[in-house]
C-alpha cells in the first residue's frame, strides 16, 4: 500500500515547510527509519508533485532502538524512527523534529544541552565505587538511558535552558547516587584477589576527585535543585521511554538518597 509521507523540512536559517513524498513499503517490517533511508537513496529524490528535493537530513546510528539518535515526532508523538513500523501508520505518516530543542536542519535537532545539563549536575563518581550498587537491577536500568530526549519532549515542566533538567538527567543520576548509597567496604574476597592480573590498571588510572568533597554531595545538591524541585510528578513521561526505563522507581530511589537522607543529616547538623 502506498503511503503519503509528510516531512517537516527546514534548511539552515530558513522557514519550515511540509513536503510530501509517496512511498511504498516493501514489507510489513519497514520502519520510519528504513523509509527515510530508502527515500534518500532515490536519485533524484522527487516529492509527490514531482519536484526535485534535497536529501532529507536526519540522524540514525544503530537502527535497532539502542542509541537514541533517531528520536523525532512521528504522527505527533515523540518516538524512535527505527522503532515505528509503517504498517501501524495507515496511509499517512508525518515526521517532524522534536520541538524542545533547536532545529539544525529537517529532522535533526541539537541536543547538546542534555550533555551540558549533566555536567552542570556534577554527574560523576567523586570517588571510586568500592562496593557494587546496593540495588544492581536499578543501577543496570539507570545505565540504559539513551539520552534520546523523548522524555523531555513530553514533560510539561522542561524547557531548554531552564533550571529543571528532567528525567534525562534524573535517570543516569540514579546510577551514581545508587553507588554512593553504599561505600563501607572493599568488595568481596574473590574480587580483591589480584592473582594473575596483578598489573595495576595504570592505563586507565584514577582521576582526582574534583571537588575534594567526600562522596556525592555536589551531585545530591544539584539533583535536588535540577530534578526534585522542578518535577511536578505528573508522570506525563511515564510509558514514553523507548528503553522502557521505570522512571518512578528510579526517582523514588534517588529522592531517598539525595533528598530525604540529606534532609535528615541537615537536621542532625551534619551538613551545612
Amino acid at each position: 500500500m502506498k503511503l503519503r509521507a509528510e516531512i517537516l523540512r527546514r534548511q539552515a536559517g530558513g522557514e519550515p515547510y511540509l513536503q510530501t513524498f509517496i512511498y511504498e513499503p516493501a514489507d510489513e517490517a519497514e520502519t520510519a527509519a528504513s523509509m527515510l533511508t530508502n527515500l534518500n537513496a532515490r536519485k533524484p529524490l522527487r516529492d509527490a508533485d514531482g519536484k526535485e528535493a534535497s536529501p532529507i537530513r536526519w540522524e540514525c546510528s544503530c537502527l535497532q532502538k539502542k542509541c537514541g539518535a533517531c528520536a523525532m515526532r512521528i504522527n505527533g508523538v515523540p518516538g524512535l524512527a527505527c522503532d515505528v513500523k509503517l504498517s501501524a501508520c495507515g496511509e499517512r505518516i508525518r515526521l517532524e523534529p522534536l520541538r524542545k530543542f533547536p532545529v539544525v536542519a529537517d529532522l535533526i535537532v541539537n541536543r547538546d544541552i542534555m550533555r551540558e545539563n549533566l555536567i552542570r549536575m556534577h554527574l560523576w563518581l567523586e570517588q571510586d565505587a568500592l562496593e557494587p550498587a546496593a540495588d544492581q537491577e536499578l543501577a543496570y536500568d539507570a545505565s540504559r538511558c539513551l539520552q534520546c530526549g523523548i522524555c523531555l519532549e513530553v514533560c510539561p515542566n522542561y524547557y531548554g535552558g531552564g533550571p529543571f533538567t528532567g528525567l534525562a538527567a534524573a535517570v543516569p543520576a540514579a546510577r551514581v547516587l545508587q553507588l554512593e548509597k553504599r561505600g563501607d567496604g572493599h568488595g568481596s574476597e574473590a574480587e580483591r584477589k589480584t592473582g594473575p592480573g596483578k598489573e595495576k590498571p595504570k592505563l586507565f588510572g584514577r582521576l582526582r576527585a574534583l571537588t575534594g568533597e567526600k562522596r556525592a554531595l555536589p551531585l545530591a545538591r544539584a539533583y535536588e535543585k535540577q530534578v526534585f524541585e522542578g518535577c511536578g510528578k505528573s508522570l506525563a513521561c511515564r510509558n514514553i521511554c523507548p528503553a522502557g526505563i521505570d522512571a518512578g522507581r528510579l526517582l523514588a530511589s534517588s529522592n531517598a538518597v539525595a533528598v530525604w537522607k540529606r534532609l535528615r543529616s541537615r537536621k542532625a547538623g551534619r551538613e551545612s
Partner: protein, 567 residues
C-alpha cells in the same frame, strides 16, 4: 603540551581521553555523534578478563594463548600478552567506576564465550557495551568539568594535516556537521573511529555511523593498512530492515544450540563435528560450517539457533534485552521457537597498521579500537574487542603523550591550503549500496581468485564512472585494498578462507598483510609477525622495551607511586 585530538568517542576514544586526563594532558574528543550513539553501545555479550572467579584456575597466560590461537597466530604476541595481563585490572577498574557487572549471591560471575574453554567473560545481562560506555562517559564528564577534556559531538573527521617536509602529522581538520564550518585542531591525533562496516551498507550488524570514509581518507593520505582481508562473519545474525540483527554469542554461551534439518530431523552439526567446544567454536569455524551445511541438499538451506532449552531464569536475569529484540524485530519468542540465523558481517580484525604502542605508519598519528589492526589476528574471539578498545585506547594515549613530550609543539601551522566541498565529500547512498554489493560478493565467507578478481573489476568499473565524487573514489580505493589483500593471501587462515587455497601456509603467510598507497600506486606486501619477547621483558609506551621490567626514568616511578597512593 599541545592538546591531543581523539577522533571517535566509542570505548577506545573514551578510554584514551580518560588516560590522557589522568596524565593531565588535555584532549579533544571528536565524534560524528555522541558516545551514547557509538557502535560500542551495541555490544551485548561481555568483556574478557582472566579474573578466575569461577573456580576454573584461569590465568592471563591462558587468555593470551587462546587469543593468539583464535587469531591463528597473526596477532602480535607481545601486544596480546600486554592486553590479557592488564585485563583483570581493567575490569576491576570498571567495577570501581560502577559498572553493574552480573552477580550471583553477591559475587561477580563470568560466562562462557566462543573459542575459550574457561568462563572469563564479564557481563551485564545482554547490554554490556551500553553500561560500560555509560560509566566511561561519567568519567570523561568529570575530566571535562576539570577542563581536561572537551567533547565535540556532531563533528566529522575530514582529513589529517600532514607536513609537506617530513610527512609528520600537524593536526586534523574536522567539520561541524550542524553548522557546516571546518576547524583545524593542531596536535597529535588518535584515531578511534571504529570498524568499516559502512563499506557494506545494510549487510552488517554495525552502525550506520561507521561509514569507513575516515579510514578511506587516512589510507589515501598514506597510512598503511594491515590485515584488511580479515572480516569476521558472526555466525548468528538475521536480516532486519536496513541491517543485520545480532543474536549474541551469549545465547550460545548460556546453552543455545545450532541445528539444521537434515532429512527432516534436527542435526546439531557443531556438537557432532567439534565435540570439545561444539557451539562455542571460534566464529570463523562456525560460520564456515554453516556455509557448508546450508549448501548441503539434504539440509534444506536453513539453520536454526535453538534457545528453547534456556531456563526462564536465564532469560530474565541474563538475556532479557536479547529476547526483547528478537521478539520485536523477528517476531518470534526465542524461548519457545528456534530462530533462523545465518552468518553476517560483524567485525574487522584488520584496519590501520598500528604497532604495539598503537603508532600508525604516520608519525604523530595513533590508532586504537576496531579501526586498528591490533590484537585479533585472523579472527577475533568474542568479548575481546571491547577489551582491545579499552586497553588500546589507553596505550595509544600513553604513546601520544610520550612522543609529544619529546617532539614538542608542531605549532599551529596548517601545512596546506584546504577547502571543503560538501558535494565532493559525500558518498551517495545508491553508490554506497552498489559498491557494497560488489565487495560482499567477492569477500564472502568462502573466497576464490575468480570471485575476488570479478569484484576488483566491478570496483574499477565504478571508479571509471563519470561524475563520481572524491569521497566515492576513496571508498572504492579502500574496497580495492581489501580485495587486493585477499587476493595476495593465497592460503586459508581464520576468517579468510580461499577455496582455491584451502590449506594454511605458515611458511608463506604467517605474516601481516600490509597495503599502502603511494603516489597513486597500491602495493601489497607481507611482514613477519613480531617474535614473542622473553617473559621478564616489559614494554612501555614511553620507553619501549626494558629488560628488567622496571622503568628507570624517575618520572615513571613517580607516576606509579601516585597510582599506588590513589589506589
Amino acid at each position: 603540551m599541545e592538546k591531543v585530538n581523539i577522533i571517535g568517542a566509542g570505548i577506545a576514544g573514551l578510554s584514551a581521553a580518560i588516560r590522557l586526563a589522568r596524565m593531565n594532558v588535555q584532549s579533544l574528543l571528536i565524534s560524528s555523534q555522541a558516545s551514547e550513539r557509538a557502535q560500542s553501545v551495541l555490544a551485548e555479550g561481555g568483556i574478557n578478563a582472566a579474573m578466575d572467579l569461577m573456580g576454573e584456575s584461569d590465568s592471563w597466560q591462558e587468555h593470551c594463548s587462546d587469543t593468539l590461537k583464535g587469531g591463528v597466530f597473526l596477532a602480535d604476541p607481545n601486544a596480546v600478552a600486554g592486553m590479557t595481563a592488564a585485563a583483570p585490572g581493567l575490569v576491576r577498574r570498571l567495577q570501581e567506576l560502577g559498572v553493574p557487572f552480573q552477580r550471583e549471591n553477591g559475587q561477580m560471575i563470568q560466562r562462557n564465550f566462543g573459542g575459550q574453554k574457561k568462563k572469563r567473560t564479564a557481563y551485564a545481562k545482554s547490554s554490556t557495551g551500553k553500561v560500560l560506555v555509560n560509566a566511561l562517559i561519567d568519567e570523561v564528564r568529570k575530566a571535562e568539568a576539570a577542563g581536561l577534556t572537551k567533547r565535540l559531538c556532531h563533528h566529522d573527521f575530514v582529513r589529517l594535516a600532514l607536513s609537506e617536509a617530513d610527512g609528520q602529522c600537524l593536526g586534523v581538520w574536522i567539520r561541524d556537521t550542524y553548522g557546516g564550518a571546518c576547524l583545524f585542531c593542531p596536535g597529535p591525533v588518535i584515531l578511534c573511529f571504529g570498524g568499516f562496516c559502512g563499506l557494506f551498507p545494510g549487510l552488517s550488524t554495525g552502525t550506520s555511523q561507521n561509514t569507513g570514509d575516515a579510514l578511506a581518507t587516512v589510507f589515501s593520505q598514506g597510512a598503511v593498512l594491515a590485515n584488511p582481508e580479515f572480516i569476521q562473519y558472526h555466525p548468528t545474525t538475521a536480516a532486519i530492515t536496513g541491517k543485520r540483527l545480532l543474536v549474541s554469542e551469549a545465547a550460545r554461551g548460556e546453552g543455545g544450540r545450532l541445528f539444521a534439518l537434515r532429512n527432516g530431523r534436527k542435526w546439531y552439526f557443531m556438537e557432532e563435528k567439534y565435540p570439545e567446544l561444539g557451539n562455542l567454536m571460534p566464529r570463523d569455524v562456525i560460520s564456515r560450517e554453516m556455509f557448508l551445511v546450508s549448501r548441503d541438499p539434504a539440509c534444506g538451506g536453513e539453520i536454526f539457533l535453538d534457545m528453547t532449552g534456556l531456563s526462564p531464569e536465564t532469560w530474565k536475569k541474563k538475556l532479557p534485552d536479547l529476547r526483547a529484540q528478537i521478539l520485536r524485530y523477528l517476531k518470534l519468542d526465542p524461548a519457545c521457537t528456534p530462530v533462523p540465523v545465518s552468518p553476517g558481517i560483524h567485525y574487522f580484525m584488520g584496519g590501520l597498521y598500528a604497532d604495539e604502542g598503537h603508532r600508525t605508519s604516520i608519525p604523530g598519528v595513533y590508532a586504537a579500537g576496531e579501526c586498528a589492526c591490533q590484537y585479533h589476528g585472523a579472527n577475533r574471539l568474542g568479548g575481546n574487542s571491547m577489551l582491545g578498545a579499552l586497553y588500546g585506547g589507553g596505550v595509544a594515549a600513553e604513546s601520544a603523550a610520550a612522543d609529544a613530550s619529546v617532539r614538542g609543539c608542531a605549532g599551529t601551522s596548517v601545512g596546506e591550503d584546504f577547502c571543503f566541498s560538501e558535494e565532493n565529500e559525500t558518498v551517495s547512498p545508491a553508490f554506497g549500496q552498489r559498491l557494497g554489493a560488489i565487495l560482499a560478493q567477492g569477500l564472502g565467507i568462502v573466497r576464490d581468485a575468480q570471485g575476488l578478481e570479478g569484484a576488483l573489476e566491478g570496483v574499477r568499473g565504478l571508479l571509471r564512472q563519470p561524475g563520481i565524487t572524491q569521497a566515492e573514489a576513496r571508498r572504492c580505493l579502500l574496497g580495492e585494498a581489501v580485495l587486493r589483500a585477499a587476493l595476495a593471501r593465497k592460503e586459508s587462515r581464520g576468517a579468510h578462507y580461499r577455496s582455491d587455497y584451502p590449506e594454511r601456509d605458515d611458511a608463506g603467510f604467517r605474516k601481516t598483510t600490509l597495503v599502502s598507497l603511494r603516489s597513486g600506486r597500491m602495493e601489497v606486501s607481507f611482514r613477519e609477525v613480531p617474535a614473542r619477547r622473553e617473559a621478564g621483558d616489559k614494554y612501555d609506551a614511553r620507553h619501549g622495551v626494558s629488560k628488567s621490567g622496571i622503568c628507570s626514568k624517575s618520572s615513571c616511578r613517580e607516576e606509579e607511586a601516585g597510582d599506588e597512593a590513589s589506589g
